[in-house]
Subunit: 173 residues, 2 copies
């Protein structure tokens, strides 16, 4: 079922494929598809799951600066870089998983993970949770997809890193 979805999405683009098509290609009924994944954003999330876990594992147990052991500002920079790579690689799929249902982005477990990680790295700021949400807002698939044609990958990445640096409290030497 996931294979069929992945193949169709790759061939025709995530937007252009209907759930009926996926069900037909997978040889199951629509009911089964929806019972398994909830909605289209759930299907997208399931397809991203494996890739997501790789990044999460690198953050929790991998080598620094992405993993533990480096100073917070370096870890934040590494996270933004890595997440931005992941985002660009799967932009259409992530966008679908974030926007199919209203508010989907903020409910799914992955967002909670990224948010918690960034908030911990920002621990020394006045309101780490709010600041983490604000930083992640600039990493929303919808936002990046809209800006990509206008600004290009390099300017967006540089801007994100600059903003993250500005949000960190200056580590007085």
């Amino acid at each position: 079922m996931l294979e069929a979805a992945a193949r169709l999405f790759a061939e025709q683009g995530v937007e252009a494929v209907s759930m009926d098509q996926v069900a037909a290609a997978a040889g199951v009924g629509k009911g089964t598809l929806f019972r398994r994944f909830g909605d289209k954003s759930g299907l997208a999330a399931a397809l991203l799951d494996a890739r997501e876990r790789v990044l999460q594992k690198a953050i929790l147990h991998g080598p620094p600066p992405l993993g533990p052991g480096a100073p917070a500002d370096e870890r934040l920079t590494a996270f933004i870089d890595a997440y931005f790579d992941y985002l660009l690689e799967h932009l259409a799929l992530i966008r679908m998983s974030e926007t199919a249902a209203p508010g989907a982005r903020y409910r799914i477990g992955a967002y909670r993970f990224w948010h918690r990680h960034v908030a911990i790295l920002l621990g020394a700021t006045p309101d780490p949770e709010q600041t983490a949400h604000a930083l992640l807002a600039s990493l929303a698939a919808e936002h990046v997809a809209a800006l990509l044609p206008e600004l290009g990958e390099q300017r967006i990445r540089a801007g994100l890193l600059r903003l993250a640096h500005a949000a960190m409290p200056c580590p007085s030497p």
Copy 2:
């Protein structure tokens, strides 16, 4: 037509009202409604138009600090405060106008206006356009709507102002 839409939206909430209902209440056919407004986000944008113009006029010609005449950082603070008020007042409607069509937020004229204004105020930073987009990302209706139950109005507002301040280049005295 706009009156009927405004009444229905106020009574039942923006999400719960279908375009069929609006057309029926306005005494016109669906075709007319869509020809006039394009889609549901266009209808929402039309309803917001008057309120939007008030804020835009205050920015262009009103008294400082929102209008011209104050230092850039004070104007930015005033803008975020005023826009956040406007956003909270019409959250559901703005959310509809931003999210009904994919990428709608970044295409509508109003976003261009806010972006240009913020970019001008950030003129002294390395990449004002990118930074303006990043700040406005935290003012997206979808984002604020998702954070409101978790953080509350005060924390969000304070965080926005803090981030804007951090993004400004320090005005050396």
